[in-house]
């Protein structure tokens, strides 16, 4: 297990968490719809696979930042949709701030002349 690999995973995980929380801030959605929204809003830059999506959703649920609710769709299929909790809202604004700081800091380095 190399440190570099771990770091990369951590970074991706954090980014994915942030995107999921933000998407769910707008409306409750189920897993596929969340991935769809991420893909649409990033113009295809992020294609979230199930292997990343579901572990992330369950992790966020476990943290209490999102809550899963079961409904049935028009085909009478059980669908688990997720909504942002109050704690999730707090987490989202904290992560947003962190993200903005990271972007601002990296931009400063890139803009060095």
């Amino acid at each position: 297990m190399s440190g570099i690999r771990t770091q990369k995973i951590e970074l991706l995980r954090g980014t994915l968490d942030l995107m999921i929380l933000r998407i769910l801030e707008l409306q409750p959605l189920h897993g596929i719809a969340i991935a769809d929204r991420i893909r649409q809003s990033t113009k295809g830059a992020f294609h979230i696979q199930a292997g990343s999506l579901f572990p992330a959703l369950h992790r966020l649920e476990q943290e209490g930042w999102i809550a899963g609710e079961w409904t049935t769709n028009e085909k009478d299929r059980r669908i688990k949709s997720y909504r942002l909790t109050a704690a999730g809202r707090k987490q989202l604004s904290a992560e947003k701030r962190t993200w903005e700081r990271v972007v601002a800091a990296v931009t400063q380095v890139l803009d060095l002349s």
């Binding site: 199930a50 292997g51 579901f54 943290e63 209490g64 930042w65 688990k80």
Partner: protein
């Protein structure tokens, strides 16, 4: 409330496992069916579409495993008797317990890639010290995956999970005494493997640390319940000086009794089976 929901989640994972598993199955099946439908709408035959989705996933079971790794308390709790094979106490200062499944790497291990490069252009990078171990089932010897393991360094606790093979790793452990514990009461069993009863340093000229063969004792925990376990005496040489100093004895209680499910009810934040504080050795026979 995050803590409350964590506890609810933990409780569900622990005692409503079948329900959690069934829900997970439904959730993933719904995913597969919807993705397959999309493909068949694009003209692919339904069976082939489903097949393609499953292939893309690498199988539903793979996704389930990935999800399970995220859920605290999802290990196989029905295996009551468990040994958490850990070094209960160790030194960072070079003491190496290169015995059995618990290994203590000294800080000077050179990474292979660095070692092959010319030393002047690429100075050898030191591998960060790690403490690793394995959690195995007392009864069967099977590794236990996805158990939370805490590294307790007063007042800080760090956590990790065992992997598929019951293996866990902490990098940069503290440079003084610490203890390892399972992160949940359910797994709060710290029975140091008999393999550790005579561990030697990898560098005999430097420090060494020995775990003397232990004796079985029964002690009274703070909750008034008796605990069966062992009393262990440690001694060694650290930086050329004997430890503990002459006339002193360093003892640590460790026990091998499994913690029943009921304990999860009383699970409080930060309250874990830290043997150093939760138990008094006064009841030792």
């Amino acid at each position: 409330m995050p803590f409350l929901s964590k506890m609810i989640s933990f409780w569900k994972n622990l005692f409503r496992r079948q329900q959690v598993e069934a829900d997970l199955n439904d959730e993933l099946q719904a995913y597969v069916e919807e993705m397959a439908e999309r493909r068949s709408q694009a003209g692919v035959a339904p069976e082939a579409a489903r097949e393609a989705v499953l292939q893309e996933l690498g199988g539903i079971e793979r996704i389930k495993d990935l999800v399970r790794q995220q859920r605290i308390g999802f290990g196989d709790y029905r295996r009551a008797a468990v040994i958490v094979v850990v070094a209960l106490i160790a030194f960072v200062s070079g003491a190496s317990t290169a015995v059995g499944v618990v290994r203590w790497h000294a800080a000077a291990t050179v990474e292979q890639s660095s070692a092959s490069a010319p030393p002047k252009t690429a100075p050898a990078r030191e591998r960060p010290p790690v403490l690793e171990g394995r959690v195995v089932d007392d009864a069967t010897g099977e590794p236990i995956p996805y158990v939370e393991i805490g590294l307790h360094e007063t007042p800080i606790r760090r956590f990790t999970y065992t992997d598929d093979m019951g293996h866990f790793v902490f990098t940069n452990p503290p440079s003084h005494f610490y203890s390892l514990e399972s992160g949940t009461q359910r797994w709060a069993i710290t029975h140091v493997s008999p393999l550790l009863s005579s561990c030697a340093s990898s560098d005999p000229d430097k420090d060494f640390f020995e775990f003397q063969p232990s004796k079985a004792v029964s002690v009274k925990a703070k909750d008034g319940q008796p605990r069966e376990g062992e009393l262990v005496v440690f001694h060694g040489v650290i930086k050329g000086k004997p430890y503990p100093p002459p006339g002193q004895e360093f003892r640590r209680f460790r026990y091998s009794q499994s913690v029943v499910e009921l304990r999860a009810v009383n699970l409080a934040p930060g309250k874990m089976a830290d043997l150093g504080t939760e138990f008094t050795a006064g009841g030792a026979k």
